[in-house]
Symmetry: D2
Subunit: 342 residues, 4 copies
Amino acid sequence: MEKIRVAIFGASGYAGEELLRILTRHPMCEIVAITSRKNAGEPISKVFPRFTNSNLTFVAPDVESLKGKCDAAILALPHGTATEFAIPLLNAGIKVFDISADFRLRSTAKYEEYYKVPHPAPELLKKAVYGLPERYREELKTADLVACAGCYPTSSILPTSVLLKAGLVKPTNIAIVSCSGVTGAGRKVDLPYIFPECNENIRAYGVVGHRHLPEIEQELAVAAGVESVTINFIPHLAPFNRGINSTILLDAAEGCTLEKVEQAFLDAYGNEEFIRILPAKRTSEVKYVAMTNVCEIGFNYDPHTNKVILTSCIDNLTKGASGQAVQCMNIRFGLPENMGLI
Amino acid sequence: MEKIRVAIFGASGYAGEELLRILTRHPMCEIVAITSRKNAGEPISKVFPRFTNSNLTFVAPDVESLKGKCDAAILALPHGTATEFAIPLLNAGIKVFDISADFRLRSTAKYEEYYKVPHPAPELLKKAVYGLPERYREELKTADLVACAGCYPTSSILPTSVLLKAGLVKPTNIAIVSCSGVTGAGRKVDLPYIFPECNENIRAYGVVGHRHLPEIEQELAVAAGVESVTINFIPHLAPFNRGINSTILLDAAEGCTLEKVEQAFLDAYGNEEFIRILPAKRTSEVKYVAMTNVCEIGFNYDPHTNKVILTSCIDNLTKGASGQAVQCMNIRFGLPENMGLI
Amino acid sequence: MEKIRVAIFGASGYAGEELLRILTRHPMCEIVAITSRKNAGEPISKVFPRFTNSNLTFVAPDVESLKGKCDAAILALPHGTATEFAIPLLNAGIKVFDISADFRLRSTAKYEEYYKVPHPAPELLKKAVYGLPERYREELKTADLVACAGCYPTSSILPTSVLLKAGLVKPTNIAIVSCSGVTGAGRKVDLPYIFPECNENIRAYGVVGHRHLPEIEQELAVAAGVESVTINFIPHLAPFNRGINSTILLDAAEGCTLEKVEQAFLDAYGNEEFIRILPAKRTSEVKYVAMTNVCEIGFNYDPHTNKVILTSCIDNLTKGASGQAVQCMNIRFGLPENMGLI
Amino acid sequence: MEKIRVAIFGASGYAGEELLRILTRHPMCEIVAITSRKNAGEPISKVFPRFTNSNLTFVAPDVESLKGKCDAAILALPHGTATEFAIPLLNAGIKVFDISADFRLRSTAKYEEYYKVPHPAPELLKKAVYGLPERYREELKTADLVACAGCYPTSSILPTSVLLKAGLVKPTNIAIVSCSGVTGAGRKVDLPYIFPECNENIRAYGVVGHRHLPEIEQELAVAAGVESVTINFIPHLAPFNRGINSTILLDAAEGCTLEKVEQAFLDAYGNEEFIRILPAKRTSEVKYVAMTNVCEIGFNYDPHTNKVILTSCIDNLTKGASGQAVQCMNIRFGLPENMGLI
């Protein structure tokens, strides 16, 4: 079998660094190009000293030159920019795995509401498959364009969708409170992200109308089998590098028990390599998923308020971005799903 | 005016260390005794090297020897133990400021439900004044026994009670999600609290039935003017030393607006030195309250779900424990409320 | 007695924030102006949300407007810029306390060697008193221009100078290895200082020719009573907010013993409020000096290599910058040296 | 080819956890036993929740039961205890890879001087090969007993030995100043290691007579071709989880230049997969080696003092312990040296 020839677009951020870390160990991938407008012409070690021994060099993004030499492109670009490259890449017969938010929302109206601009390629939204393998594995096997699930959405949707689908919780009054490490903000050089501003601190942000909100609502509605759901999603910035914990409060449906919740998770994810269901009443911890592609899920029931309380942890750069993209790519190209990811 | 002669009981933990830091700078306090069973006979510098230049020495707790030589005792003892000393101290005419949870609940039944033992001195519960100056200032002026508010409760009750009292939010479906630094667990030598287990991690704990839950419910019911309220309170352990952030989701009552919420906070706390009301839509940050006695409050309104979302930060060792005890003591002894605390 | 009227120049960095924290509590200071070119016109709370309740507003720096209304100016400006203001301030009869490096070196040649530009005001170098109260207290009492000691130099000179002066160590082969928290880099918005780049990391930098090197060498030569000393100074950036630890290796002179070292420290600093001499063989810790104006010094002797090994910790923003400036100012204006600093 | 059957003795600490992380991904290893006296009978997930999906169970250490079923034993035991198991394991024909310090010193006198007890098995010291592949690869190919190099020694010896051997630096007046993350102290439940005591802190410890000192001196003497060398080694505890940085000051020998230093490193390590030589004047960073088996080396020359200054970073749990043990094991069993380690 031949190796997949992969190009990484926008490789100079943290998701790009994580892609490089994963793909340089992936036995069936060959990196054919890493692009960066800003760093074109520079050796990779200039941007990421950890790769000093690699001889990769950044090039300016150029789809033309990849024709016939590339099977898959992973886009770690800012939203908006991803679309610009997705179109010519697809036209060149290259499979596209987009880590940005450009193709995640099925509704162009929602996209415009949250991103304040019209969607640049509405016709592609229909083509795109949502890149969350545990929910869309079959569709991913033949997808040309994969809209990899976002970090907060992955940690939120994986546990919540199971209970909604099983009818064990109500599709109303859902509250998701998440804490993310600082790599979640990207490799952004801005005052709020310098060390002394983040360290010994925690703060909520984007408490109303965060851009990941419609993505979570969209997928929870699918799981619940309803037209739409309306939730509260409240992210926090916490002083660690990698990882997200989401704590999720759900109104129990009639007849819900801790045992049924456990059974629903085992039924849904008992055979999933990248999902770890904790014993009842335990809570997930970021440290047990950092640098892995695993989502760790804990569940509890509060009889006092009749709520199911879920906790869910992922590494935002791995399962929440680059690892998930590789998992999707493995599925698409018929490779073992965990290749390069363990 | 004569100085207040203060004894600190249980001075070898983090709340004790913070009391020592505050009281050694307090111009109207004289520390007459610091007690520790474990460290009796040892100079303070053995336990807290930062006080190497002090000549205080730990003594075994002994109320008898304090008679006539002490005006106030601050108890930084484990729950259960505090009661043991409170009784003889009160009998000796010494004012008691208890940082433990022993006297915070008015209901002995609730105490027994959450602490699994009968309350050791039910008659004292009636005497005790809840040590949250911004809510109980008048009562504190004449209190003999002060049950200082807990750390999570302080960060939760201060903002929420205002809106409940003003009728701007409903006393149902309240969710409080908090993140505390590791000093919140005390100076506890236990595997989950060693550095590599806490660092680069975050986790929920006590998601059902945390001991601070009934204390918060009790005070929110008072504020709402109802018999009882039932809430979800979900604490997290986060990787920093000092501070708590509480993010609070509340169902807006009819007619609630962001402007009314702001006005309610200004009416309630506009003149409070230790409460900082942020401009609308901003969120509180732990770093702006660490090492201070301030509670910083942010507020927002989500029209999408008709929720009021509050954020509230304190330093768990200062406003959440030792600073609040000193604030209460200042009130009780007629001193400026901020003495030693700025 | 009247309050000292103080202007803070360049108040928008971390040293400025620390000055504001100290001076707003200082009972004998009145802040008459805080300047910032970038933030002129903005309320202080815009730059430092912790001062939301203050009504100070940044103004553009303007010496003319301060004439007759200001007794002291503390300059927390970048090097080079400080000189620009020092001259007119001195001409206006205002005492100047400069936290920058502009006036620390007595040799203009050394200045030019390390800063790559000629010194802008060589005549002022003679006027300037080195702002390290424990070494230059008498001179500070009448100084018009104080060149406050740098952070690394303070942590290095305070312990080392004592042993050099006592002849207990040799003035050759001195190695100083320091670790600083990230506020030491200032409030600088640059990729190497964002949280994920500093967190879970440590690195040496400036290992050859760091700008604090000639300042340390100058003062150690004074202490040793020799023309010049040549040392190695190797700073590291470590993942905490505040503090410096310096570990210093010194060749013991003949006859040196641990007892003599201890005695030399007690003789030199036994009465110093802001120096904490640890018992022999203990090592200093950053956490015991953070948020204080204290320098903590530990000493040890290695018979194996005949070296004296010192450790020394300060808070880089307090004793290493703003606290020291206030200590110098207190001395200059005849106030208790610790005012506002405990 | 058959898989190597590996037993891990003392698997419940951080080195054990790292061994498990590595070996569960190693394509040619089968874990046949994990031992722990304290946790015997418990599933691995009880001790390390990250391995919740594994079905390994701790057993009490029992060499007898491993006979014929085990090819290699990796000992992650406290010093002293390792010897106890090494003897029967070797007798049972099992290769032993010891991560403890028991077999690292060739001199029983040195062992006794630093460990305060006679060596329990002096005859084995002659058999043991020092487990630092880049220096002892040939010897490791046939070793029955490997004394894996310690963490501080690995970071110190790898760079320094090259320059000593090349005669570019003098074997006298060597100073090694290291900073280690807190996992370096093991999974130890003790007050100095709880989060609030380590966080926002740094401190030197063991500044005289640390137990890794004779190990470093032994290997540097070998490299320099001299009877013995006498050095200063000063470790610090720094607030991160994983990694060591060593900064090394060396007196340049006559004729030493930066170019010769670079050439010496390229000659020695140009083909080493796990050593990364930085360009001249750059400094190593812990973050670039964390979670890898790499040693990153930087070098510089200070003409001012005629010193060569090296910096060297490793992950203390990987290259400094478990990764190195696996690297040695791969060599011993004829596997690719990097198997399981990239």
